[in-house]
């Protein structure tokens, strides 16, 4: 469902991705690991279509369509979801109002039946419950004044409601204590299905104890330099990245 071929991309004109290849098929869970600054978030943002992140070579196809030709909202409507590493705060726009607009647009685009406001509220409350977020968060401004962990759970809550075809989770585990980590992992696991692809970007292998990936990739200096099964994550945990990148690094 996602086919990335020799992808080159710049952030603010600075080359970051330098020939990245990655194929994700429905039903698979992939983990992308790598040192700080290796380009993991850049990859996620390029796929989601952020301004200032430009594809300068190669291609990224989502269900056969070039992502470069789609607006960010069209990518979401096509079924792509990015859980941000740093979700922004939007004071004055309530979480509920935001979910309503997002779900209306995405569900309509995907030909799913429209949710009336009662259904929407019921679904949103259930999703909150699933990630251990009090329903009162629905009334607050989007991420406004949320703690780091609450922001991450809010991302997963949105993901549960949006039911994406492909979910990219950018360091959703960072800043979470072990209870929150398990809650989030449970939420993600509940979405695992034969039709859905999941990409976990993470710095630590800890998350992978709870969401067991089918494939693990190491991203370094804008390229995938090694791929393997879940045992690769354990090896990285023990040895760090230095043995792969040739640099000193303490993970």
């Amino acid at each position: 469902m996602l086919e990335i071929r020799d992808l080159h991309a710049t952030v603010a004109d600075k080359p970051i991705l330098k020939g990245l290849n990655l194929t994700i098929k429905p039903g698979e869970v992939h983990a992308i690991m790598g040192p700080n600054g290796s380009g993991k978030s850049t990859l996620a943002n390029v796929l989601a279509g952020r301004d200032n992140y430009a594809i300068t070579g190669g291609e990224a196809l989502f269900e056969g369509k070039s992502l470069a030709e789609l607006e960010p909202e069209e990518r979401a409507q096509a079924g792509l979801f990015l859980a941000f590493q740093y979700p922004v705060e939007i004071p004055g726009v309530s979480n509920m109002e935001f979910l309503k607009a997002a779900l209306e647009s995405v569900r309509t685009a995907q030909g799913k039946e429209e949710w009336d406001s009662v259904t929407l509220l019921r679904q949103a409350r259930a999703a909150c419950k699933q990630v251990n977020l009090d329903a009162s968060f629905l009334k607050r401004g989007v991420n406004e004044g949320f703690s780091g962990g609450e922001k991450k759970r809010n991302e997963i809550m949105q993901m549960l409601l949006m039911e994406p075809k492909l979910a990219l989770l950018d360091e959703t585990d960072s800043g979470l204590d072990i209870d929150a980590l398990q809650t989030v992992a449970k939420g993600v696991n509940s979405l695992r299905s034969p039709e859905r692809g999941i990409v976990l970007v993470t710095h630590y292998q800890r998350l992978l104890d709870y969401i067991v990936p089918d494939f693990v990739h190491v991203l370094s200096n804008g390229q995938i330099i090694k791929s393997g099964g879940k045992e690769l994550a354990l090896e990285l945990e023990k040895k760090g990245y230095g043995w792969l990148t040739g640099e000193e690094e303490s993970a």
């Binding site: 279509g49 909202e73 990015l82 939007i90 004055g92 935001f98 997002a102 949105q158």
Partner: protein, 408 residues
Amino acid sequence: MTLSASDLAIDLKTQALANARRHGSDGDALTDLEAASFPERKTERWKYTSLKALADGHLNAVANGEISQPLPALSEFVVTINNGQLQGSSLPAGVNLHHDAPVVNGLQTPFAAYNGAVCGQPVVLEVAANTRIEQPIHLQIQSASEAPAHCNPRVIVKLNAGAEATVIEHYHAEGQALTNAVTALITADNATLTHYRLQGEQANTLHIGTLIIDQQGVSKVDSYQLMTGNRLRRNDVRALVNKSGAELNMKGIFVVRDKSHVDNQLCVEHAVPNCQSDQNFRGLAGESGKAVFNGRIHIHPFASGTNAELSNKNLLLNPGAEINTKPELEIYNDDVKCAHGTTVGQLDAGQQFYLQSRGIPAAEAKRMLSLGFVNELLMALPDAAVTEWAQPWLEAELTHASPAGDAA
């Protein structure tokens, strides 16, 4: 041929004086108008507001059109003034409507002087001492004229000692009417006034208005001033915080789209010790809209212990729009607290991307963020009836499709 600004100023004054004399105006009102000079291009306080629209001849005719879309009543108690004339009223016990107007202090503009010289019958709403009026009083001030023409509503709200009331000063205008309004709010000791000023007149209308808040007693006034732009909107708001212990809060929202215009000139005069004032306004400009906010705080030599604040944050929706904001502090006493801040920013690209990344189309994301920008103030309105009316009004203004060719 176009008229130069100084020729126009002379023309306006000649016309205004002729109208006043025909009206039978005399005494102080006429003297004031004779002494007034209409703004020219170089007049500092008017530098962002051109009066050239008035060359269409608004002062030559009196508005007398039918109000085709009258305002809905936002309360059980309503006073209706159409084209400057009192149309009808229903008022609770404790509020007396009469025409015996007190002198209004603090008027400065030539338009206010003109209003004083020609308005036949000022509407005075007087709230009896030690009386609490539960329901808001909805003042519907409406004007209509197909051709350029004007009217001069004049309203004075007077709260006697210990009175408490909510007044919704609500403007509506159609066609090419110019509403040249003067409103004064006068509060005695221990009075509490909640005031709204809602200005949503149609695009081709003009509004030149003066609002005086005269706190003669130790009183509390909360004033909420919400407005959209039209062909010309000029508000001169002057607050006289005149008795120690008085408190004034003004909050406002202004939205200008397309080619509309809003010029807010606010001035809070602190003449006595130990008063508090706060001004908190948010502005939004899109397309070729132009907004001006000048917030003046004048702290006189004797006004020690003054606590005065001013904040004006603005959002430019596209590069063609324009907002000029300026705090203007004149402080002649060292023992005061005075905080001020004004900003002009753009929609946050990170917030916009976040919304779009959840499938929300760009235009809708902009609308949501714009509304979010003013929402805090909107949600702070104490009367639900006003919020219910104001929210869809501002939402529609923020949603409205821009004309083809303009960047949304």
